[in-house]
């Protein structure tokens, strides 16, 4: 049963049987220091990255939500002391370097042909242990996407009528799709115009750029064999139309063709993300990827390393296409008290995910 179905299930049970969902305090048994690895190598001219972290004991309380609700600090801690190598089937080792906290970037640009045709595995040396992934090979085919959007109003969070952008794709599945497993990721990249305060030299304030996932909770997968030779239209994600659409706003749709094992992993993650407590929930269980300690079979390493054939499509929106007013909180108004502007009108750091670096898509 998919997510929307579960929403209705609760709606029905609420209306007829007065069901309710409420947040509770529930004991946890945090197991700290389990290694978490997520890495992907794809065929795009992009950074090839691996993220490494460790689970935390979640003992400290701190405030994290915009609603100001205190939750346990159970976020994993980045691991910065690892040596990471990508190893191909011929034994060639390509090192990664530490870029930012817990983020490792492949230091060499491996020829695209090699990436597409050879199998690779990951080798991580951390705290005296060797962690490996199972060898992965990039799938040979991928669907052909054309992405588009529609907009309207609908339920978002607890708000019953919010302007929404539905991001959709029409994907042509090749006729030989017996082992085609697809997954999509959505990214929102937009320009954030800061307040242009008049100045004697008329120097414009450079905009910030924000890169963030869209509908990050949703995992969209498709087993190609069901639709061989067909065009499949589906909604990949929904984003609220808010002030982020006051300027140019790109949506990047990345389709990835992944292996059967990776497909299983992402589908299981999808099941975990769709639990709603109902009778029809699949009982939750620990998610197992393809990483292991060759010297200690008992050690559990979380996460996954995958080789994916990827394809990106995108579209953009401007404020004018929307049939309603989208106002920017940073537009300069003469006589307005500077303190009344939100902090992100002056500082990129105040906006999560914002940077002054111009993203690739804006450079085209």
């Amino acid at each position: 049963m998919h997510q929307s179905a579960l929403k209705y299930y609760h709606l029905i049970t609420f209306c007829l049987l007065a069901s309710c969902i409420e947040r509770i305090d529930f004991p946890t048994n945090y197991q700290a220091s389990q290694l978490v690895v997520y890495g992907q190598v794809n065929n795009l001219e992009d950074e090839q990255v691996v993220y490494i972290s460790r689970t935390s004991d979640g003992r400290d309380l701190f405030t994290i939500t915009p609603e100001g609700i205190e939750v346990f600090n159970d976020l994993p801690a980045p691991v910065n002391n690892a040596s990471v190598f990508l190893v191909n089937e011929n034994g060639l080792r390509y090192p990664y370097f530490l870029s930012t906290e817990g983020k490792y970037v492949l230091s060499e640009n491996i020829p695209k042909e090699d990436r597409e045709n050879l199998s690779y595995h990951l080798e991580i040396e951390v705290d005296g242990k060797i962690i490996q992934s199972a060898p992965e090979k990039m799938p040979p085919s991928i669907g052909q996407d054309s992405s588009f959007f529609t907009f309207g109003r609908g339920l978002f969070g607890n708000n019953p009528s919010v302007p929404l952008l539905s991001i959709k794709s029409k994907t042509f599945i090749p006729s030989d799709a017996s082992s085609l497993y697809l997954r999509w990721d959505l990214q929102s990249v937009y320009r954030w115009e800061r307040t242009q305060v008049p100045n004697p030299f008329n120097v414009p304030t450079p905009p910030c750029y924000v890169i963030e996932p869209v509908d990050g909770r949703k995992i969209v997968t498709l087993e190609g064999s069901r639709f061989a030779g067909e065009a499949v239209e589906q909604t990949l994600g929904i984003r609220r139309i808010d002030r982020a659409f006051a300027s140019i706003h790109y949506i990047i749709v990345r389709q990835m063709s992944i292996t059967a094992d990776a497909f299983r992993f992402w589908n299981q993650m999808k099941l975990l993300s769709e639990t709603s407590g109902s009778l029809f929930d699949v009982p939750p269980a620990p998610l197992r990827g393809n990483l292991f300690n060759p010297d200690d079979a008992e050690e559990i390493v979380l996460g996954i390393f995958e080789l994916a054939r990827a394809q990106e499509t995108n579209f953009f929106t401007v404020r004018a296409i929307f049939p309603f007013v989208i106002s920017s909180p940073c537009t300069y108004e003469e006589g307005r008290n500077m303190a009344s502007y939100p902090p992100e009108c002056f500082s990129c750091e105040a906006l999560p995910g914002a940077t002054l670096n111009v993203p690739r898509i804006f450079q085209r």
């Binding site: 069901s19 409420e22 947040r23 004991p27 048994n29 994290i64 975990l272 009778l279 939750p284 996460g303």
Partner: protein, 803 residues
């Protein structure tokens, strides 16, 4: 072929028995009652006085008609009366300390029958003691039987005012469920699919309405029901935990009667009367839910495009062929239809139809035969034009059972055989239905057919006054029918897709078959007239199980027969009980200990995919399950206040038995089953009020059920992923609920009517059905949430009128 011959011979014996009946002549204990002045009636009153050997009136003597307890016992002066159908009958008078006396009577008018019972002595070792009536809990040799009558059922406060067989059983010790709204029951640590459910004698596979909130047995047709917990008589089999026998009412042979009930959740109608006076009667009843009516009035478009309806129809015909032979024909059809927001839906339906005959061959011998047909269909569908699909499965079965009951002095012998042929319907996933069009062909997985055949015998014997023994034996045999394609896996390796080495084609004698003896033993030692100790042992095999990797059982679960890879479940059940009646049976007390060991009980691998899966064995984990516990019940049977207090302490633990990691759960360590609730307590009170009214109250408490909790949170590709603990390491919060109801006597003088006002969950307590993890607010952080299905005060009103 032997089982066929056995079955045919039993059939022939039934026919011969019919013939034999015609030759029965009244003997010396025959009494004939007829008075031409009495108006002709379908039933008459038989009354009289029962004296002991000294001529004193003897109280507490049970009166049985044709072997069935009537609920009547002689009073303190020894006087009894009982209503008996017109015709020939066998009347038995029984008392714990006296030799039972049997008479043949012809009831064609009211009758007076006085008798004297002689005490048992040690020399008289041929004594039959069959305990019934007020002392039955002490005297019945089989421990762990609970009975609820229709009257008791209708007085219990219920969800939305709908009296319910299955839900009311949860008030008894040793009976729990996964949670509110989950289908099925867990009896003494058994899985919900381990309960044999019989409508009269016919097998019922689906008992759920409204996703399991209600059962499919219309309370108007229920005459009473008995639950056998663990110690199942030899005449029942095929399930490894418990047996629930629901008996239905018969139509009135004399006059037409109608009952109409209007309630919060459903409306019901019942009609009963003679088709041929004093010969053939009918009973027809129907029930229709009100939820659709409520949904259509909702302002929310998502709600008023939903459907949520159920209905059930029951028809019963009873034919008195002659005074010693009856035939009953019953059909129950139930259907549910849920469509939620025009987005996804469930449909399931169940048909059980049976014909049974009961023949009194001689005063000591009766034969009962039942032939039944059942059909169960279910489907789940999603209507999305691109990703939608409909999933269907189901089961058909044919059941035949013949049993002969013979009593001779202190022995009662039951002999019989039962055969059930199961035909599973293929599991089909269709991508073309309603508004969903797809070039994708259906995915179809053919399922098994099987034949279960079980001859059985049981002897009840009372060697001396204080001891009663029931020894039974059943031979359970199962054979898969037809041909089968079976995957062969690598030896000494787990069953995974990677380890498939070959496909075997099986047919004929190569088809899998399983069999085993099922001994059933029960004995009672009376410590006094009001006190006894009982013990029992039974072994049971189960060849069919429901498959569902969900939090709890659902109404659309797949029934799966045993096959080459799925072995039958085997269960050994032990019990020991102490029973005491006090103050002239005003109070009764029971204390039961039980232990249960089951092998080949099915559990599931993590994230098991069971849908249209042709190699289910790669998703299953065979387990061993052990349940043990103690049940205490204190019941007040008489007076203005009646009711009971039940408390159960039990544990149900499972462990995987495979040595391979992929087929193992929690590294092979014991873990609590989904339905393991160590402490369960219920208090049921009923207070008689003026003019036949009553006030009723239930108080329920139980430990929360086990779930898998959170051990950590980590991030993969910007998504927060919960790391779950070992299976069932945590528990949801404890459960507590109070329900009350008030039933009036007749409101309007010309009618026999009553009004019931009820409040379910009086305290409005938000009992957790489940705990799950979801992102908090607009952040992606995962925090625990509790789902309460019945999280508020739920009032109900129902009005019932009979005319």
């Amino acid at each position: 072929m032997r089982k066929y011959w056995l079955f045919v011979s039993l059939l022939i014996s039934t026919i011969l028995a019919w013939d034999a009946y015609a030759q029965i002549k009244p003997d010396s204990t025959y009494y004939y009652f007829r008075n031409d002045n009495d108006p002709k009636s379908p039933f008459y009153i038989l009354t009289g006085n029962i004296k002991d050997e000294t001529g004193q009136g003897l109280s507490g003597v049970s009166v049985l008609v044709d072997g069935n307890f009537t609920g009547r016992v002689s009073d303190e002066r020894g006087i009894y009366y009982v209503q008996v159908d017109s015709g020939e009958h066998r009347i038995t008078f029984r008392h714990l300390a006296y030799i039972p006396t049997i008479y043949r009577v012809g009831m064609y008018g009211h009758g007076l029958l006085n008798t004297q019972l002689n005490p048992k002595t040690l020399e008289l070792d041929e004594i039959t003691v069959v305990a019934e009536g007020a002392q039955r809990n002490v005297n019945n040799p089989i421990a762990g039987i609970n009975r609820i009558t229709a009257k008791e059922l209708n007085t219990l406060p219920n969800l939305m005012g709908e009296a319910d067989v299955i839900r009311s059983l949860e008030l008894l010790p040793g009976v729990t469920s996964v949670g509110e709204g989950s289908a099925g029951l867990n009896v003494r640590g058994g899985q919900s699919d381990q309960n044999l459910i019989l409508l009269n004698e016919a097998l019922v596979l689906s008992t759920n309405h409204a996703l399991g909130f209600l059962s499919s047995f219309n309370p108007d047709i229920v005459d009473g029901f008995s639950l056998y917990k663990g110690n199942i008589p030899a005449s029942f089999g095929g399930r490894s935990s418990a047996a629930l026998q629901v008996s239905t009412k018969k139509g009135d042979f004399l006059e037409n009667k109608t009952e109409l009930s209007l309630g919060t959740s459903a409306n019901r109608i019942l009609s009963s009367g003679p088709l041929v006076k004093d010969k053939i009667s009918y009973l027809a009843a129907g029930r229709l839910s009100n939820a659709n009516w409520l949904l259509r009035r909702a302002n929310n478009p998502e709600l008023n495009t939903s459907r949520l309806s159920f209905y059930d129809l029951y028809t019963g015909f009873s034919w008195k062929i002659n005074q010693n032979h009856n035939i009953d024909f019953n059909t129950l059809y139930t259907a549910d239809d849920f469509l939620l927001a025009n987005d996804f839906g469930f449909e399931w339906s169940n048909l059980v139809t049976s014909i049974s005959s009961k023949s009194l061959i001689s005063p000591n011998l009766s034969i009962l035969s039942t032939w039944a047909f059942g059909n169960f269909d279910n489907s789940y569908y999603e209507t999305d034009p691109f990703t939608g699909a409909r999933l269907r499965n189901g089961m058909e079965y044919l059941q035949g059972k013949v049993s002969a009951f013979y009593t001779y002095k202190n022995h009662s012998l039951t002999l019989g055989a039962e055969m059930i042929r199961y035909d599973s319907k293929p599991e089909i996933k269709s991508f073309n239905f309603q508004n969903v069009f797809s070039p994708i062909p259906d995915i179809r997985v053919d399922k098994e057919s099987g034949l279960e055949s079980s001859p059985f015998a049981s002897l009840e014997w009372n060697p001396i006054k204080w001891i009663s023994l029931v020894a039974g034996l059943r031979y359970a045999k199962y054979r898969q029918l037809g041909n089968a394609e079976v995957l062969e896996y690598e030896i000494m390796a787990p069953k995974t897709l990677q380890n498939i080495v070959d496909t075997l084609l099986l047919s004929g004698e190569q088809m899998p078959q399983y069999q085993g003896w099922e001994p059933r033993l029960a004995f009672r030692i009376s410590l006094s007239e009001h006190m006894s100790v009982k013990s029992g042992y039974s072994r049971t095999y189960q060849f069919i199980q429901s498959i569902s990797n969900t939090t709890g059982p659902t109404p659309i679960d797949l029934w799966q027969l045993s096959n080459f890879h799925i072995q039958p479940q085997v269960s050994d059940n032990y019990s020991l009980g102490y029973f005491l009646n006090l103050k002239d049976n005003t109070w009764s007390l029971s204390l039961d200990l039980f232990y249960r060991n089951s092998l080949h009980q099915i559990d599931y691998r993590d994230f098991a995919n069971l849908v249209v899966n042709p190699h289910l064995e790669t998703e299953l984990v065979p387990t061993q399950a052990v349940a043990r516990g103690v049940e205490l019940m204190v019941k007040k049977n008489k007076g203005n206040w009646t009711g009971w207090l039940a408390y159960t302490f039990s544990r149900t633990l499972q462990r995987s038995v495979s040595s391979f990691a992929v087929e193992s759960i929690n590294n092979g360590n014991w873990f609590p089953a989904n339905w393991d609730r160590p402490h369960v307590g219920t208090l049921v009170l009923s207070r008689k009020l003026w003019q036949g009214g009553s006030f009723n109250c239930n108080i329920n408490y139980s430990t929360g059920r086990p779930i898998s909790g959170l051990n950590a949170v980590y991030i993969v590709n910007n998504r927060y992923v919960p790391l779950f603990s070992d299976r069932n390491e945590f528990r949801i919060p404890d459960y507590f609920r109070i329900d009350v109801s008030y039933t009036t006597g007749s409101l309007f003088i010309p009618f026999d009517d009553s009004l019931t006002l009820g409040i379910f969950n009086l305290l409005g307590r938000r009992n957790a059905y489940s705990v799950f993890y979801q992102p908090l607010g607009t952040s992606s952080r995962l925090v625990p949430y509790q789902l309460s299905l019945l999280g508020t005060v739920l009032p109900s009103i129902s009005y019932k009128v009979r005319f």
